[in-house]
Every structure is written in C-alpha cells, then in structure tokens.
Subunit: 205 residues, 2 copies
DNA sequence: CATTGTAGTGAACAAAAGGTCACTTGTCAA
DNA sequence: TTGACAAGTGACCTTTTGTTCACTACAATG
C-alpha cells in the first residue's frame, strides 16, 4: 500500500488533468478522489508542479517505450487487406485505451503552456505517426503493394486524416463508431488510390 | 471611448483565454492589460463566465458569417495551379490572422469543458473545411480538372493534413515557414495523384 | 442649470487555492 | 522492545480569485 500510493496519485492526476487541465485541477479534490487528504499528496510530490512534471516524465518515457522503439514498429503487411486491418487494430487501441486517450487530452490542453508538453504533442499528433508509416510504406513499396512514391508524403497523407478523426473521438466520444467507419473507408480509399494493381498473373518477386 | 471598452475587453479576453485558458485567466490581469481595474470589467460583463459566453457567442457568429455563408465559398478554380494558389492564400490567411489563430487556440483549450466550444471546434477543425472543399472538388470534377471520385472523401483527405499542419503552427510558430512549404508540397502531390491528365488536344467541354 | 445615467475606482469580502507543520500511526530492523 | 522512518492527518497560513458596493467623474438630456 506504500509505494503504490505514489503511482495512484500519478494516475489520478492524469485523469483530472485530462478533464480539467492543469490550472483547473486542485489538490484537495485530487486527494479526495483517492480517499486521501491534500497534505498526503505532499508526502509523495513536493508541489503541484512537481506532480505535473513527474506525469510528463512518465508520458515521455511511455511514449519512447511504446512508440519510439524499433521493436514496436508494426510489421510491413503483405497484402493491402492486411494493411487496412493493421491500421484498424492500431486505431481501435489508441481510441479505446483509457491511458492513451487521457494522455492525448492532457497534451492537447497543455501544449501552449508547457514546452515539453508541446514537443510531445507534436510527436504524438504528427511526426511520430508519420515516421512510423513512412517505414511501413517504404516496405510496402519494396513488396510492390503500392506504387513508388515519396513514402514520407504518403505517410503524412495517410496518418493526418486518421489523426484528425482520433481527435474527434477524444472530443465527441459519441461519434466514435462513425469515426471508426470513416477511418476504414478512408483507408480503403487510400489503398485504392495508391495500391499497385498487379496485372493478372504478375506477382511480387 | 464608451461602447468601445466592451469590445476591447472581449478582445483582451480572447487573447488571454487563448494563452492561459479559461481557468488560467484572471480578471485583474485582464483588466490591467487594458489599463482598467478589475471592477471596471463588471460594468460590462456580469461575471467571468458571462464574458466567456459572450466571447463564444462572438466566435460562433463570426464563424457563421465567415465560413458558413454561401458568399464566402471559394470560387471553383479553373486550373490545378490556381487550386494550389487558392489553397495557399487561404492557409496563409488562417495561419497569420491573429484573431483566427487565437480562436483556434481557445477552442483547442476549452473543447472538453464547454459544449459549445466543443461543437465549434469540430466545425473549425474538421467538418467546416471538409464541407467547403467538397463543393470545390465537385466543381473541379465537373470541369474535368480532377478525376471523378467521392468529393467528400477527397475533401477530407485534402483538408485534414493541412489542418494538422495549421495546428502545428499554432503550437510551434517557429515552424510556420516549413509547415507552409509542406502544405504546398502536399497540395502539389495531391493534384498529381487526383488531377486529370488531359490528353494532348483534349479540352474541357 | 439640474438631473440622470454610464464608465470607472478602490476598498473590502468570502471562498478557494497551494503549501507547511506538528503530530499520530504503523511497520520493520537492530 | 525500542528506535527510526515512511505514510497519513488536521489545523493553520498566505495568496489569489471572483465578486460586490459605495463612491466619483463626467457626458448627455430635459
């Protein structure tokens, strides 16, 4: 019950910050949500700002581990259909995983105030996905699944619309199902435009 | 100097809210930024929340007038080159117009807290642009400039990446120039993919 | 000129905020 | 058993916050 409290505080902070933002969050309420009293928080974090920084440390580390490392790169799919299903798996995870949703919301709310949040927001919302899919598309071009083109441009053109709909889900959760359908439709439209239509009998070498 | 103050307060509020958010903004500082003392604000708005709501009213009205009305629809360009330059004109406006930038920031910061902000955010960031460009693409298909396809899907695929880069500029203004270049590159890539390459001698009827 | 209403001031207030500290409690090691 | 330490409490403090109000200055109107 001891060491655990520090972790519970961090998770409660993620929760409140993601709803009310840093300024809108107050320590009393945060402590109460854990059955603590506010001075109890200060046994684990020396100030509200220290708590915020610890949370950011965590988010940055988590991002690095989860999205930044080579082992978590999605495998290059070997059919366009598998490419779509891979996308949908990733999308479903990122939309429904509570911690990831809250992380996105916090970054959205604090991106103009905190420099590290700002940087992480750009990774989360833009460059991270683009880099990842640049590799995927490069691989798919090598396999002859999609036509040769600038893979970074394709990755940007592919991930940004999906990212926009993920933000929509964060903002209006009741539109989640529709958004997921739109993402799938967009995905299929995308492979239809960029997919290499192999002539009959032709095969990838 | 009389009626004017109410307006100046509204603009100062837009400014502070866009930087510090609603919770982070305090009336004293806001008044001071206008050379007033805090009680002066209350002569024009009965509470902080009333001020916030007045600002939202304004933003909603402005959006309706600026982006919602038929007369402000961009004309359907009659060449792909003009399509790109039209896009760039719009992008430059939306990135450099202070009031529009601040509006986007406020909506970003308050989208999870205020229902009207939430709705306006979706319009600003997603559906508004998509609707507008659906019409543009429909017109361009009619003119034979781009190949026939689902115009709404094209509009979504076109505007979402641009929107993502506009958000990037709001977050990291020092990347504005690079972002604008990327938008233009994306734009050209887009028309290359979807543009109808008319055979020699062929013309739109 | 008298009056009336509007814009603005400054002092005051209650509530809420972040933070401190002396104290209790429970656990574990010597 | 005892000493030490980490975890948690409750009372207290200071600062900040939104809001009110009696008052002044002044322009417009009759």
């Amino acid at each position: 019950m001891a060491k655990d409290t520090k972790e519970r505080i961090l998770m409660a902070a993620l929760d409140m910050f993601s709803i009310k933002g840093y300024e809108g969050t107050n320590i009393r309420e945060l402590a109460a949500s854990l059955g603590l009293v506010k001075s109890g928080i200060y046994k684990h974090y020396e100030s509200k700002e220290a708590l915020w920084n610890a949370l950011l440390d965590r988010m940055i580390a988590y991002y690095g581990k989860r999205f930044g490392s080579a082992e978590h790169l999605p495998p290059v799919p070997d059919s366009l259909e598998k490419f779509v299903s891979m996308t949908m798996r990733m999308v479903n995870l990122t939309i429904h995983d509570d911690q990831i949703v809250k992380t996105r919301k916090v970054l959205t709310l604090e991106q103009y105030r905190d420099e590290r949040a700002r940087d992480l927001a750009t990774k989360h919302f833009l460059t991270g996905l683009t880099k990842m899919f640049t590799l995927v598309f490069t691989g798919m071009m090598d396999k002859g699944l999609i036509r040769r083109d600038d893979p970074a441009m394709l990755a940007f053109a592919y991930t940004a619309p999906i990212s926009a709909l993920i933000h929509l889900c964060d903002r209006e959760p009741e539109k989640t199902e529709e958004a997921i359908r739109t993402i799938e439709a967009f995905s299929r439209h995308f492979i239809q435009v960029y997919g290499e239509t192999l002539s009959f009998g032709e095969s990838k070498h």
